[in-house]
Symmetry: C2
Subunit: 260 residues, 2 copies
């Protein structure tokens, strides 16, 4: 539990839970109602970081300016801390998320789908096998699975709770997709152009590891254009939906302009 | 997916799903109705074996007579295969288990509890830290968490679906506890007295690793007595409950007399 807390409470932007809560608010639903699920998503995100950092995976020593979980607690504890965070995330939704069994199951279905073979884990596998090197489309698929699905799920769980019309839900889903892509493009740009001090981790890792990125495929200038275009599309999708989308648009702006 | 199938379909006794289905039948419910959850439990069990076998954990080369997942596919793939099996297990219950949202959530709550800090993962952590060496009670706690909880959950999920009276449910829960303990005592005996050919894995590993076991604490003769007593208590608990408990009693006998 100490290792779980160490990684979970190491800081981090809380981007996914904030996204879930902001979507909830935009849809006119009290964000407090979605808090257990929003927290569960952060537990899942933390589990994925712990496992991705392992020596057998990306072999990272530093995360959020502190030693990675396995550097602090050993590899065995880090593997188990990740496993347990996943289990406790599911338990949190089962025990704390309100809305009844149908809502809870829909949330858990979304989270298990986003984290399984057709989501986060599948994407991490493809990334480890350098599938993204093949083409720009392949790279986009890797990122859609590895990071996009859980970001999208953060929006989808709010749709489960608020249950808007299908037309409105579709707008939000497309917004979530664009936001996931934007997040990754900016990530790739920051790995080249970011500050190690602000980021709290080593920069230039992608290039050293020969990883495919938006920058390696398109160059830094074009990657910046792609980020601007994606950001524009994300904003446009929410331009005329009803409700108070202000926080959600601010979040999209933050993803676009973030320095870490 | 290949690595997931490799470990999932490597054989194995299917003890946990058979236990779930036999409990379901004993309670007068069609076992076919519980099949998605029974399968999910086997996915979870397989995930735990893959992670436990990793070099950073028990470092095993052989499982069910074949190279362990990480020996066959590499450590990174093995970690991810375990992660994905867990996610897909949850998804299976969300998408396939019938009985409605309340049943699905109760099943998922049981599974997430049995696999988290207060169950399987917590037990594996204590085991890695040799907590069982402290006392016979501590050893029993380690095993209750590490293997007992998921065995108990296999019975509990059938109780969720069949919903018998609290008095009957209590009998089954106590039966499940005894069965979990019996399973572990026999496991420890087989590690000393079993056949490597029949087991499909190296024997004597516990002693070589200096692990606490029922045999190391009590000696082989007393461990065999404990197994007989536990087996007797398990059988007695189901002696006068209504329903067709024949398969379930056979299963308890099999756990007691198994050679692998």
């Amino acid at each position: 539990m100490e290792a779980m807390r160490y990684s979970l409470l190491a800081g981090g932007k809380r981007f996914r839970p904030v996204l879930a809560l902001a979507t909830c608010a935009a849809l006119g639903e009290d964000p407090a109602r979605l808090m257990p699920t929003a927290a569960a998503i952060e537990l899942i995100h933390t589990y994925s970081l712990i496992h991705d950092d392992l020596p057998a995976m990306d072999d990272d020593d530093l995360r959020r300016g502190k030693p990675t979980c396995h550097r602090a607690y050993g590899e065995d504890t880090a593997i188990l801390a990740g496993d347990a965070l996943f289990a406790e995330a599911m338990r949190l939704v089962c025990e704390r998320q309100d809305g009844g069994g149908a809502v809870q199951v829909a949330v858990l279905r979304e989270l298990s789908w986003a984290t399984g073979v057709g989501g986060m884990v599948g994407g991490q596998f493809l990334d480890l096998r350098d599938a993204g090197l093949r083409s720009a489309d392949a790279l986009r698929l890797v990122h859609t699975l590895k990071t996009g699905r859980l970001i999208a799920a953060s929006v989808h769980v709010a749709l489960v709770l608020a249950a808007p019309s299908e037309e409105i839900a579709d707008r939000y889903r497309r917004f979530a997709l664009e936001l996931g892509v934007l997040f990754q493009i900016v990530d790739d740009i920051l790995d080249v152009a970011g500050s190690e001090v602000v980021m709290g981790k080593a920069v230039g890792a992608d290039a050293r590891l020969g990883k495919a990125t938006y920058v390696s495929f398109h160059g830094l200038a074009r990657a910046r254009e792609l980020a601007a275009e994606t950001h524009g599309r994300a904003r446009a999708l929410l331009a005329d939906v009803p409700g108070s989308t202000g926080d959600l648009l601010d979040l999209a702006d933050h993803v676009y302009t973030r320095q870490s």
